[in-house]
Amino acid sequence: MSQDAHRHTTRKTGLGRDLILAAVKDAFVKLDPRVQIRNPVMFVVAVGAVLTTLFIIRDAAGGGNRPVFFNFQIAAWLWLTVLFANFAEAVAEGRGRAQADQLRKSRTETMAKQLIGDKQRIVPAADLRKGDVALVEAGDTMPGDGQVIEGIASVDESAVTGESAPVIREPSEERRDVVGGTRVLSDWIKVRITTDPGESFLDHMIGLVEGAKRQKTPNEIALTILLVGLTIIFLLAVVTLEPFAMYSKTVVSVPVLIALLVCLIPTTIGGLLSAIGIAGMDRVLKHNVVAMSGRAVEAAGDVDTLLLDKTGTITLGNRMATEFRPSPGVGEEELADAAQLSSLADDTPEGRSIVVLAKNRFQIRERDIHGIGAAFIPFSAHTRMSGVDLPGREIRKGAADAIEEYVKGKGGTFSPEVTADVEKIAKQGGTPLVVADAHNVLGVIYLKDIIKGGMKERFAQMREAGIKTIMVTGDNPLTAAAIAAEAGVDDFLAEANPENKLELIRNYQADGRLVAMTGDGTNDAPALAQADVAVAMHSGTQAAKEAGNMVDLDSNPTKLLEIVEIGKQLLMTRGALTTFSVANDVAKYFAIIPAIFIAAYPQLAVLNVMRLARPQSAILSAVIFNALIIIALVPLALRGVAYRPISADAVLRRNILIYGAGGLIVPFIFIKLIDLSIVALGLA
């Protein structure tokens, strides 16, 4: 994972003791048949456990020489199998809930100053309805999601975004949205609440990680169907075994048949399936992204086209000075010196970058601006330049045409070399800033879009993994092409506007591709609504957030890449555990089948390749392995299979080897070990 990702995982919730205890309790609560029926595979196990228990009760009442202790152990392990699966789900839910609770905590006790007409009334924040207006003053906590209708305030949104710098909230379109749970630091605002309690997206998020409200995603449904199908097939194989056994003049007890059935049906993946899904949502949440549905997270795995905004995603938000290109006859240091002087009072990022470059190149330091008698000329939209007047000097910097006009006005000329430099820089995707001292043109500063560190490698990995990256920018095609080439994206859309962005998405979708994008402005809303995975920036407008299917609380567009990885990881984990689960059956067959029929046909001992001690120990070992493997794989289900951005074929070979071949071999070893332990302990 990238540096970026690491930073976001700092607010991680570990597997604390409390969490485990709560999950254990939940595991029992989930024995409720109404909960169990949601998971057909485990429901079959639960029914098996009930039946086996009934047999024990019958046998205990009837006495006789039935293997009550053996049946008791089978029943116990069947119950444990069910509980382990419940536990897996409960742990995943617990982790998500803990994370969401942290966010919600701030909201629970909040009181709000509701405004009704001119009157102010103190009410619990949770009582506010959509459309209510509340006054929020310095030190107050935001009572709910809403929009600023009056006033201006600085707001600490770190509780939601993790970003410590306060943000300004005011009625303007870009800055009017506020989130419940954040804190006003100064001044006051009036907020119109836009969501009813229980609908704000914190609540939404909490609901999603809680099993009850979680809806199965399309792929999860398909996988469940496959698992149910396999369960039915094995149910048939086991049920028909009884008549075949009768024909073969041997009797197989019902608990043993149930044990066989439970070992054969895909309990491993069946027990972990919902935990995998919840953990996927949870991982998204850890990156401070709220997904509106599990479907969106899953779709992220399928995304093969990424639309990335140039500014903020691919490049640092601002252009930086990277080079001084002096006019003929002017020293580079002279140009740097003038450029630095003109930028001392310029606190735009571009201005600061010029100062930094001058310092780095020629050790030109900060100077006492009052001592030298400088008068700064700020940038104005009218003159399109800024500068500084010193005694005897008039330094100006600005766009080429603005400076040209200025210089010509002073009686100077614009040399062809400077014009050539200006054109060259523009062609390379940079912005030329010309510096002049009165009528003397000193040279050009090369302002450049700086590609974020590691992005080029990232895009190369994406390409390897089959994901196409497209840079979207308002720049002209020439500039866009230069930056696209430098960043290593596959394609770009220059002079982008909402219409051609939407069209681009539609075209890709018509080719069968799945498109993901990020957006923040209201004008992004149509494109966000069209994209398959749309991550709205939390700093963006309400319209953008409603159109998207995820909201990034950090407003960091680069995160789209991580979201795609999480989606892929989710699907890979499902596939890996399904393969593992099915492959496991081979060993379990070799444990149980000879054990069942050895009495009727001693020849079948040949099939007992693991040389398990006794029929009863063999059956028990398989059942125990089947139960324990669920617990053993819980960490993997929660963490997800390791994702590497390599080609699908390479990923496949790797996973086949680990989970396919591993799934065939591992149970042979562990069933044998369990058998040895059982015999040593005298349990069978």
């Binding site: 097939i233 048939l236 028909t240 075949f244 399928d302 699907l571 890996a576 099915v582 989970y659 396919g660």
Partner: protein
């Protein structure tokens, strides 16, 4: 001897592939309306047929219409065949004056031939008049094979078309399969068989005096023409009871060889056609690879088991250990093993040896081949669409591991496809297991079993596998003509056939509606050798796991017992 026989088996596979490749390309042209050399003759006939039947072969159907037309068409075929059998005593071309067929046997036979199963609960020469053989059974031999091709074509269209409801026209598919493929090939093959001495007449049975002076009745009939389609259409319903062990059906070593080739010819050709039609020959080769892998494994096991034979026979020194009992002496072990593997891998069901007499392990392979769904080449059309069902399952299980919603040929495999694919696997399996389980615990089911113990279980299991899998070969050793078996296996054939066809058409319909995702480095490639291996693995695991318990009690225990000196 082993080296020579291995060479013979290898050359067999070679000949099949060499003939199947051009046939496949030809078939792809036929079904995509490209020009072929037969067009000048056949196109007018095709138009005439459409006009006579008043069908519009250009009108596209959605999957439900397609399935409905197919079911109605087969329903008519079933009723017609059933009536011909009942009434054959009153109808012409019956020199032996055979009476009407007993109703349950007639039901069983009608179901059997209509579903391309060709299970025979009767002896051909002693039950069926020439008219029944020619106008009833042979007609269904053609039609059932053509229906299989039609279903496959609908599925291919589902895979290749985008965002449409239409999966083709059943009448078009049926007519083209018959006119361009099945009839020309059968005519050619009939002439070849007749030239080799297979009989083709409608005369009365001959009574001859044998060398020992005894009287023997020799059955006659239009055998060559029926044998041709029996082999080519993976039907397998022999003209005579002895099937291809009968010299009039299979007179010379050359006919043995080419009848064998004919079993796999069209199924293998369709795999080539498939690659051509989906626009990537390698997709076809990969499926072919998986088939060959399973075929070679099955053949190897059967051949080894038969060659090794029964140690008990060796112990008494009357013969070589190699198991020759129940095999045509003319054919020997290699041809018998080859035939058994081919006939059960495909849904042919024709036999040149009695599988009942194989060693238990040698008999297990044919049985398992059927239970896997006859996807190793398989029935005409049916084998490949059955294989594609497994392809969908493999893609779904394994494809998830690359981190994307699984897709095949750009089509996403989602819950509907999984549901239908699971049904297509589940329905025949359920039919086989439930049928056999019912049989072994009822008196009606157990009394016709001729051998006790595990061998008897194998016989029953084989019978229901053969029916549910639409194979039609029999293990023998089981009197299958009792009403219990004729009705139960008859139902099994119907469920096993249409329980797969309808889900497959449903998949075709759903796939056709989807967009196609372009392939890229992030796509799970289904045209690699790795995929062939995975496909074979999934088939074996799902198939074997389903039937392993039952097989353990039948052939496996029997083989182990035989090695230890007990036989049943």
């Amino acid at each position: 001897m082993v080296a020579g026989e291995t060479l013979r088996m290898a050359s067999y596979v070679g000949v099949v592939l060499v003939l199947a490749a051009p046939l496949g390309i030809y078939m792809a042209r036929v079904f995509t309306r490209d020009k072929t050399f037969l067009d000048p003759v056949l196109c007018p006939i095709e138009r005439l047929i459409y006009r006579l039947c008043a069908v519009d072969a250009d009108k596209e159907m959605n999957w439900k219409e397609y399935a409905l037309v197919l079911l109605i068409f087969n329903g008519f075929g079933f009723v017609a065949l059933f009536l011909i059998q009942l009434l054959q005593g009153l109808l012409p071309l019956n020199p032996q004056n055979l009476a009407g067929v007993e109703p349950t046997v007639a039901f069983n036979t009608a179901a059997s031939f209509m579903t391309n199963t060709n299970w025979q609960a009767y002896g051909g020469e002693s039950t069926m008049s020439y008219l029944t053989q020619m106008a009833g059974l042979t007609v269904q031999n053609f039609l059932s094979a053509a229906v299989g091709i039609a279903v496959l074509l609908a599925l291919i269209r589902g895979l290749t078309r985008k965002t449409t409801d239409e999966i083709g026209n059943f009448w078009f598919d049926l007519t083209r399969s018959l006119l361009w493929v099945l009839i020309p090939l059968s005519v050619a093959f009939t002439i070849f068989l007749a030239s080799q001495g297979a009989i083709q007449n409608v005369g009365a049975y001959k009574t001859v005096t044998t060398l020992e002076g005894a009287k023997q009745t020799i059955a006659m009939g239009p055998a060559a023409s029926q044998v041709a389609i029996k082999m080519l259409g993976t039907n397998g319903g022999g003209f005579f009871n002895a099937n291809s062990a009968h010299p009039f059906e299979n007179p010379t070593p050359l006919t043995t060889f080419f009848e064998l080739v004919a079993i796999l010819l069209i199924p293998a050709g369709l795999v080539f056609a498939y690659g051509k039609m989906v626009g990537d020959l390698r997709q076809g080769y990969v499926i072919l690879g998986a088939m060959l892998l399973l075929f070679a494994t099955g053949l190897g096991v059967t051949y080894a088991a038969e060659h090794y034979g029964n140690p008990q026979i060796a112990a008494v020194h009357v013969a070589q250990p190699t198991a020759m009992e129940g095999k045509e002496v003319r054919c020997g072990v290699a041809d018998s093993a080859l035939w058994a593997t081919a006939t059960t891998g495909a849904s042919s069901g024709s036999v040149n040896s009695m599988h009942d007499s194989f060693t238990p392990l040698g008999g297990l392979v044919p049985m398992l081949s059927i239970q896997l769904g006859e996807v190793v080449f398989g029935g005409v059309g049916a084998g490949l669409y059955g294989m594609l069902v497994f392809v969908f399952l493999t893609v779904f299980i394994v494809g998830l591991m690359v981190g994307r919603t699984p897709e095949y040929l750009g089509k996403k495999i989602e819950s509907w496809e999984v549901k239908m694919a699971v049904l297509a696997v589940l329905i025949p399996s359920a039919t086989i297991l439930l049928g056999a389980a019912t049989a072994v615990i009822t008196r009606a089911g157990t009394s016709p079993i001729l051998n006790p113990g595990p061998h008897g279980l194998s016989e029953v299991l084989y019978a229901f596998s053969s029916a549910g899998g639409n194979n039609g070969s029999a293990f023998a050793g089981l009197n299958a003509a009792t009403p219990f078996y004729t009705i139960l296996t008859g139902l099994g054939m119907l469920i096993g056939r249409f329980g797969v066809i309808v889900p497959v058409l449903a998949i075709a319909g759903s796939l056709a509606k989807k967009k196609a995702v372009p392939a890229g480095p992030g796509t799970f490639h289904t045209n690699s050798g790795l995929f062939a291996g995975l496909l074979a693995g999934v088939i074996l695991i799902i198939g074997a796991l389903t039937f392993f318990p039952a097989l353990a009690l039948g052939p496996i225990v029997e083989q182990l017992a035989m090695m230890a000196g007990t036989s049943f």
